[in-house]
């Protein structure tokens, strides 16, 4: 069961601010992820769209947030950005059509391994001996890991930033918090902005008989 769902934009913004993130920044990451998927053609292997979507999402996430003092972190081959002050990490994950739907939950598209399972465990039960990790100065063992869950199928795109709290058989099964980033309607408005076909101010041309 979800503990908290921030589905309204004002609510989401408030919670994101606490995490040191903004809606616009995360939407920009979603856009990059969709661009990555769009780079793939029928000639690419079946796994390419998902991989490309994830890769471009991560890259953009880092491009945006490293400028703001976040650091990239690949501990245990889980690619994230880390905020050492707030002790949080953010990863990108391709998820199914439960994404950004209130009475459902996002399910990761591909099975996750032990690193994600461990990250989920630590979201619930922080690691109590962080100094035991190899790199004590930069160990992130007690960080909370959030996932930017992106659903992208055909022309439909939705996204949420969520904190998984349960993990079973390679899939996230519960979240302690869910912050809705992008609804289907939001995306459609952004993707195809309604433009005035005849934009710009009127132009007056003065012609007068002598």
């Amino acid at each position: 069961m979800d503990n908290a769902v921030y589905k309204e934009a004002w609510d989401a913004r408030w919670r994101l601010k606490e995490l040191g993130l903004t809606l616009e920044q995360l939407i920009e990451v979603v856009r990059a992820s969709v661009a990555g998927r769009g780079d793939c053609t029928d000639n690419d292997p079946p796994s390419a769209p998902g991989w490309s979507s994830w890769r471009y999402g991560i890259r953009r996430l880092r491009e945006i947030f490293r400028q703001e003092g976040w650091e990239k972190d690949d501990t245990g081959q889980l690619s994230t950005i880390a905020n050492h002050e707030r002790r949080i990490k953010v990863a990108v994950c391709n998820t199914d059509d439960g994404t950004a739907i209130e009475n459902r939950i996002p399910r990761n598209r591909s099975r996750k391994g032990v690193i994600s399972e461990r990250a989920t465990d630590r979201n619930v039960t922080p690691y109590i001996f962080p100094e035991m990790e190899e790199d004590a100065a930069r160990n992130t063992a007690d960080y909370v890991t959030w996932y930017l869950c992106i659903y992208n199928e055909d022309d439909c795109v939705r996204a949420e930033l969520s904190c998984p709290s349960a993990f079973e058989a390679g899939y996230f099964t519960r979240y302690s918090e869910r912050i809705f980033i992008l609804s289907e309607d939001d995306w459609k408005t952004m993707d195809f902005p309604q433009q005035d076909d005849n934009s710009g101010p009127d132009i007056e041309v003065s012609v007068r008989r002598k």
């Binding site: 998927r37 780079d39 993707d191 934009s199 710009g200 132009i203 007056e204 003065s206 012609v207 008989r209």
Partner: protein, 354 residues
């Protein structure tokens, strides 16, 4: 008095060599050479034949000298594809436009030219400066032809039956002229108008020539029609060609032009740009523009003929007074009809005559 310069002009307008014209009226090429040099005055029957062969009224050949446009003063966009005959024919049309323009200016007050010399600036900076001067901000340009006319540029159409002549512009003293080829798509023609504006403000007093000048005018046109801030605000990230197709309506440009602009602005990657170019071709958008715009037409000439129509003066009357073939005048004026202009004016309160 027969004016040999007018014979040369009419022959060039018809894209005829001296040899071809000589054949058409059964004289030797040398005879035509002597007629055009003024060494010999053609007899009346030869003038009648010349008139028929060239489809110009006899009286045309007896008028005063006409200002000639030369390929040195006119900035032609298309350089390599255009033949000398095509270039000369287009320039001759320009000379005929001068005749019409002078006739109108004797009878009407038209906007004074409001261009500035921006030859020292980079094309992108020049586009920004001119937008600032004209208080356009970052807004899209609703109609390039109307904008040029409002700023004192005389805009004429060329109906050259060839796509190799893009457009050209020229300063005639202090008066800027732009000629647009209506054989091009409306989007292409609009882009040409911005390109020619680039030449007028960047290259009035010389500066680069040839390819370099064309490249500068292109950069100016892209910046002027699609200001970077506006493009970045509307399309911060592009993922699909459909996005470009939808967004291009804002700036009334071709998909190809917007794709190119997005690439230059770094919004579309090299890879994506190439992909979109391929998709453009595959989807047939190079032949048929999606969401095509209406061809931009002159509002100044329309207003002139609307006024003249009230005095029962038609375009044909003007052509007759200037001793020009009606088709020549019609082709220069975007095919506007005086009566249609009058009707449009009645139904459109926004187009006030000041």
């Amino acid at each position: 008095m027969f004016n040999p310069k007018r014979l040369t002009l009419a022959r060039r307008r018809r894209r005829l060599t001296k040899i071809l014209l000589a054949g058409a009226i059964n004289v030797t090429p040398h005879t035509i050479l002597r007629y055009e040099s003024g060494d010999v005055l053609p007899p009346d029957d030869s003038i009648a034949k010349l008139s028929r062969a060239l489809s110009f009224p006899i009286d045309f050949f007896f008028g005063p000298d006409i200002d000639e446009l030369s390929d040195k003063t006119a900035s032609f966009r298309s350089l390599s594809a255009m033949t000398a005959k095509e270039r000369d024919a287009a320039l001759a049309a320009g000379s005929l436009a001068y005749l019409f323009s002078d006739w109108v200016e004797q009878r009407f007050y038209l906007p004074k030219q409001d261009l500035i010399n921006l030859g020292v600036e980079e094309p992108e900076g020049a586009a920004r400066s001119l937008r600032q001067k004209w208080l356009l901000g970052e807004q899209p340009i609703k109609n390039m032809v109307h904008l040029l006319e409002a700023k004192g540029v005389r805009v004429f159409s060329l109906s050259e039956n060839t796509k190799t002549v893009d457009a050209f512009s020229v300063w005639r003293g202090d008066r800027p002229y732009v000629f647009l080829n209506t054989e091009k798509t409306p989007e292409h023609s609009r882009y040409d108008a911005a390109h020619e504006l680039g030449h007028l403000v960047l290259h009035k007093h010389g500066g680069p020539q040839g390819r370099k000048a064309e490249e500068e005018a292109d950069r100016f046109a892209a910046s002027f029609l699609m200001p970077s801030s506006d493009v970045k605000a509307i399309l911060p990230r592009v993922t699909t060609l459909n996005q470009i197709i939808q967004a291009k309506k804002r700036w009334s440009v071709s998909v190809a032009a917007l794709n190119y602009r997005l690439h230059k602005l770094g919004i579309v990657s090299d890879w994506l740009y190439r992909t979109f170019c391929i998709q453009l071709t595959e989807r047939g958008f190079r032949e048929k523009e999606p969401y095509g715009i209406k061809r931009e037409q002159s509002i100044a000439w329309r207003k002139v003929f609307t006024e003249l129509w009230k005095e029962k003066v038609t375009k044909k009357d003007v052509a007759n007074e200037l001793n020009l073939p009606f088709e020549e005048v019609n082709n220069l004026l975007f095919g506007l009809e005086g009566q249609q202009g009058a009707e449009d004016n009645q139904s459109n309160a926004g187009l006030r005559l000041i």
